[in-house]
Symmetry: none
Subunit: 275 residues, 4 copies
């Protein structure tokens, strides 16, 4: 298993500051020892429309120079454009699908293979069945485009933030209904905690379909500073033969944070566990 | 003085849920008694690219039918696109200026006259003087475009969220450096609290240049549920002859909120004070 | 009984900001309805060395124009110069006596009749008996000088801040040992609370020697926002025939305060009680 | 890197007790192991007017006998005399400049080389640009005098307490505008925390101009008892080649403190980090 770190806490999403250029983040995470970087598609790091071919090539060089890989990418849902695949606004649904495909392309351009899928959320007035259909159809289109780029789309249950795909079962159901070879599932310990569920249950139930894992503890604290049993989690992941990344998605929901500190703290706690 | 309510808490920005369609929000705020609605340019309410002429006309009808006016509009900074006018990325700066102009147009189309300006923030590695110049030049361009739409741009110090225009003096300085007739200032009691400053000091110092006011208390609580002295604030506003809106920008930083409740609570506390 | 308000919360002592010029403070306190202002000898209000004859005359005019009297004055102990009358440094003891006399003069120049006396504190290594003697001899010299200006010096027990005169008995003992006609006593409800003592006990025990009263509640909150029984206090003061000021000394130990608000809140709570 | 300890917590500034004579403080800090002592110019330690040549010589002997150096000195702003270099009172501004020069002289007399500069604060009614000019001109005069004593003046951003130089950029701008060889910058982790900024950002941005560092955590707690990442801080200081002192400025804002304990606790946490 490899360790990666998600860039939100270094970006202007959702909290505007502190914010660092992507080159700085790549350098710092590599220096701490991370194998991978999960790049959020938010400014000032990687909003696709802002990065032309030259910029992408430069990022790729920086990654190579620092010996760190792109573990995965994900959009930044909820900002002005929303990017809610289940929005009642058709224009927003179309824009969301476009954005996912743009992020898949950027991910591929940077050497990444995994795109996270947040299945959207129900706005007041939209029947939940309708929201589900919109999300499923969006995922279908995204999966087709991603397949051509050799990118796998992983569905993440996000109970703490949304109301459509909240559970292990919800993610698996969406995956099965789409039925594409490059659609898989993932989970985040933080969302398990929100539902008072047990992370190892997710590992065993997702099994071979589990292609990505987010680690975060209560209040998006670093692993080790909360309640999750990471030893058991790592053991269960070994049991099911998981070989992907463990990605820290932490600290980003507040301004009062030192990004390097939380990145180092998480690494120092998890590294001995994964060996 | 009139009372208005900001839409964030009903939108998917920055927290995805609960979220309501704009028509629903217009109806509810009018029913509570608000004179105005401050519409944030975020999904699912009013991201400019998602609203064609017909959609804008329909919103305008809803506003008229419910007897509520657009007090003001503002962009949603910090989401994926950032819209940081002081970003180190030229593409983002251009996109931010475009977005402000689009929001000004939408504001005008909906009958509004005030556009809020968040002056951006310094990303690590950008000299503060450079960030300031970028922000000032952006404001210049936005002001020119807004003038043609009869929209006034008001600079808001946002100390709690940013690091460029944080104070009364900072906002006034930016206003003066731009020197356009349709560039004025505003303040938010929440940002005063963050700096442990006194709101009435802002009123007396901004004086005739004060064109908009945000009300929010500690933790974005409703007026009356915190520490600010609203009686003194209203009195000082009368002293300087303020005739604009008092706009509640509250409750939007958490999922555990009932939007209608906080809107009603703020109205019931402030209405007797403004008479 | 008359109501007065102490200026610390509007000054740079002990917390630097917010700070207002003295003219502004006079105007605001008079507007709220206070009969008197207790002026602390701290910048930017009334550090004696900074105020020449013209400046004093101007303050006197401002007081008259606003219809508010100087209830009392006091030095600002503990800053760089210390002004600890019981300091182990002879130079500091001399400077402290000088400063008290300068403040008495300024008080007189502004039409005031009461000078508060903080009896100093024991520094590690100084025998308590020695500290007492130094404080008593200082008070003797100050009283002689003050007598010529028709100023009464009132000894205040300051248990929360010091360790020499902490109690009703301590203040009375110091007063008696000095034995001057213009040396009397006072107390502050805040210091009573620190010792878990009962304010009315101070009133009855100080009786005819009680010449000044400070009101403040837990954490220097305004009367009414804490634990003290002000109705009983006012009744006991009537019992002993007290005709001096009730002076609010509140809010000054923190930056997060609106001075006008706390001044108004205290006034609105106490005014009905004193009739 | 060397470790020093600031004397406030042992002095009568800003809290009157506990207070210890300077000789006692020198002995205790040396016994704990500190390389340096940062002496605040407050009673009963080192208010310049109270210390004649003999007294200064005696302190110098005590320092030598205990093998501890004066790392730096600083005035005690905000007490009665204010010493606000940006005060609206000309007399106070003059007194402040005089006091800084006196402290520089005392620092030099005690073998110290660094004088801290608190840039003052804006009083209500003073335009911020005017306050800035007053502060800059004061610093110019102080720097000229200090240069003759071989003392370097370091500008400290003090956001938690003031409103004029609050940031890394503000300190650097003041330094550059003065443009004297013996004017440099410093920062305090406590003030970084107040602004929710990252201490290592200050290190990298101040770089070669960084000549002094204050360590303190939330609520002025000792390093290790809060939120700052001291490992990263020390590493970043090594990166930029910093060879000055790390000075603890802690515990002084409350009476309920044991000075020796907090001094020892800070030393024991930091010593292993600096090696």
């Amino acid at each position: 298993m490899k360790l990666a770190f998600n860039t939100w806490v270094y970006s202007s999403f959702p909290v505007w500051v502190p914010a660092y250029p992507l080159a700085e983040v790549i350098r710092r995470l590599a220096a701490i020892g991370y194998d991978g970087i999960e790049i959020g598609a938010a400014s000032p790091h990687a909003f696709p429309d802002y990065l032309d071919t030259a910029a992408r090539q430069e990022i790729r060089s920086q990654l190579a120079d620092n010996g760190i890989a792109v573990s995965s990418m994900l959009p930044a849902p909820g900002g002005g454009p929303g990017f809610n695949v289940a929005s009642p606004l058709e224009a927003e649904r179309r824009a969301a699908i476009d954005q996912y495909i743009k992020v898949a392309q950027l991910c591929s351009d940077l050497g990444g293979k995994i795109l996270l899928y947040v299945a959207g959320w129900q706005v007041f007035g939209t029947p939940i069945e309708q929201a589900w259909v919109w999300s499923r159809e969006a995922l279908r289109k995204i999966a087709v485009a991603a397949a051509e780029m050799d990118v796998t789309v992983v569905v993440e249950p996000t109970s703490a933030d949304s109301n459509l795909v909240e559970t292990c079962d919800g993610a698996l159901r969406l995956m099965r209904e789409v039925g594409a070879a490059n659609v898989k599932v993932m989970f985040d310990t933080y969302h398990c905690l929100y539902r008072n569920e047990v992370p190892t249950d997710y590992v065993y139930r997702m099994g071979k379909d589990l292609h990505h894992v987010h680690l975060a503890d209560l209040d998006r604290a670093a692993p080790g500073d909360g309640r999750v049993d990471y030893e058991a989690l790592v053991e269960s992941l070994r049991d099911v033969g998981y070989q992907g990344y463990l990605t820290m998605e932490i600290g980003f929901d507040r301004r009062s944070v030192e990004p390097d500190r939380i990145a180092r703290r998480a690494f120092e706690y998890m590294k001995p566990l994964v060996g």
